[in-house]
Symmetry: C2
Subunit: 328 residues, 2 copies
């Protein structure tokens, strides 16, 4: 396989964004920033054997997710995703057909948001495919949906059911035999393989005067601790308010779901905090557009403490022990 | 090693760029684009065992080069480098101390250009370190130093001596016994390990009305073919005009240098083409600032053909056979 030939195959035939000056094919891409918007940029790497297994995910799904996790970071800033760049390290045993499918998977998601592939790199590696995606978005200059913006008295909310992705992964790995319904299984696996970045909800959230926002990549407990630490506040969430999908609900009682819901990670829902007045505003906007958003707790002034009030009224301290990649 | 702990160690204490709204530590970084400037973005990956060997390069050098090769792409657009993001996949046998040295190596170069580290990702990998750097720069809206801008009659130029990096690599690999002078050896190895991106020269070149520009990552022959193909022109270069360092010059006659000079790659000099009038302008500007720039040939109207006129007056067709990573 030839690098130049491969690049010509993944190079898009048409682009959505009119602000591209030079796309793929030169030393770097050039685009014009939108007036009165700030630039938002993030990068995430997925490694074969760590973040995905070739046997369990199709190349299209791998590509889709590699882009989705980055778009989710852009959504968590309330921003509009616009451009992406893909750097891929390819081991000899990956076929060109499968590599092109990875790009097709990304393109599938990119189309939805009218994002354009504007650059990247292709290199070889001895073993295990590594895919690094950089996404650039834009957000209105006044918007700062940061982790540090929560204040005591705020409503804590999430944008979708929790724990699905982790349950889906356990099903894929053969570690979960409680969920038997094939449709439930399919749903959970799809939540793991093809997470939906919450861009539309993120844009409604960006309309709020003040909001703290995070996407759930490392598990709810971990993300709440980050919000609490960055904002120097405490958070109390109510177990009975945590949204759970019908698939997980179906095994409630037979199985302790909290491992998935609180520490599972990779749901890529947004979790945030805003004042009561602003909360009413965003709830209305989301519900009018049939977008899920629900309260799960409140912000307190107990410095950096995150607590869970169980349905039994027991109160537990929630530690940052969701997925923390890179731990030994 | 803990991901959060590691990130806090690489997070810069201070930043150079005043346009950063949010740096490392949130879901994505936010910065304000400079008015009347376009955004320039590129990404490059370096893989242990392919692009560098742990035994032959210090972690500081690895970091320096990982950033340098990207800054070189920004320079090849005539742009100013501003921000960088680093995604690193870390195998268990790399020590935290060495990983921090990689970031120090990048910081060393970043300081020179007042660039800021604004984001990244850290993940684990079973074997071989992979480092992906994204660099964002800015360039005045009217500047388009693209590969496709060359025209027949143009002067073809380079910004420094060629072949040094490839010779340095051969010395490191024990494949070169003709160069004995220790100072020459040191110089060549340093050109391989710590290439200098030609940002200052690139900025002078950006002042030209029209210019085609490329950085030499894959070897002069390959880059010239890219210029010729993109611009639908031919190029003739003169062997006697190709700048050669005293280190390589010292073995001329004993050794065929053309392999290094024409196909070596990784010199990260700029190669470009501009009209005779503009050439006089940029030569003057560079020489006044003690920056190297010399003519090596001319652009012809022979469609996409690249030729080399040897000192013997023999004319050879130069094919795109510099380094082409990703070949099997």
């Amino acid at each position: 396989m030839d690098e130049f030939d491969f690049i010509s195959k993944v190079k898009p035939n048409k682009t959505f964004q009119h602000n591209i000056v030079t796309g793929i094919g030169d030393d770097a891409a050039i685009y014009k920033a939108t007036k009165n918007y700030n630039q938002v940029v993030c990068v995430d790497t997925m490694v074969e054997g760590i973040h995905f297994l070739k046997e369990l995910s199709s190349p299209t799904d791998i590509g889709y997710k590699a882009l989705a996790v980055n778009v989710s970071d852009i959504a968590a800033m309330g921003a509009i995703p616009r451009y992406y760049l893909v750097s891929i390290a390819i081991p000899p045993y990956w076929k060109e057909e499968d590599l092109l499918s990875i790009y097709n998977g990304m393109e599938e998601l990119a189309k939805k948001y009218e994002m354009d592939l504007i650059g990247g790199d292709t290199v070889s590696i001895a073993d295990k495919l590594v895919i690094t995606v950089t996404v650039i978005g834009e957000v209105e200059e006044h918007v700062q949906a940061l982790r540090s913006c929560a204040k005591p008295g705020d409503i804590v909310f999430v944008t979708g059911p929790l724990g699905d992705s982790a349950a889906g992964l356990d099903i894929l790995l053969g570690k979960c035999d409680v969920i038997c319904d094939p449709l439930h299984k399919e749903y959970l696996i799809s939540r793991h393989k093809r997470p939906t970045p919450r861009v539309e909800v993120g844009r409604f959230i960006s309309l709020l005067d003040r909001v703290a926002l995070n996407d759930i990549s490392d598990g709810l407990a971990s993300e709440l601790n980050e919000l609490a630490e960055s904002s120097h506040v405490g958070i109390v969430i109510q177990e009975r308010l945590l949204p759970v999908s019908p698939a997980l609900k179906s095994v409630e009682g037979q199985y302790d779901l909290s491992k998935w819901i609180l520490f599972g990670g990779e749901d890529f829902e947004l979790v945030g905090a805003t004042s009561e007045e602003e909360w009413e505003k965003v709830k209305k906007l989301c519900h009018e557009s049939d977008l899920f958003i629900e309260q799960i707790g409140t912000v307190t002034d107990e410095f950096q403490e995150v607590r869970l009030k169980r349905t039994t009224n027991e109160i537990l301290k929630l530690k940052k022990s969701g997925f923390n990649h890179f731990r030994k």
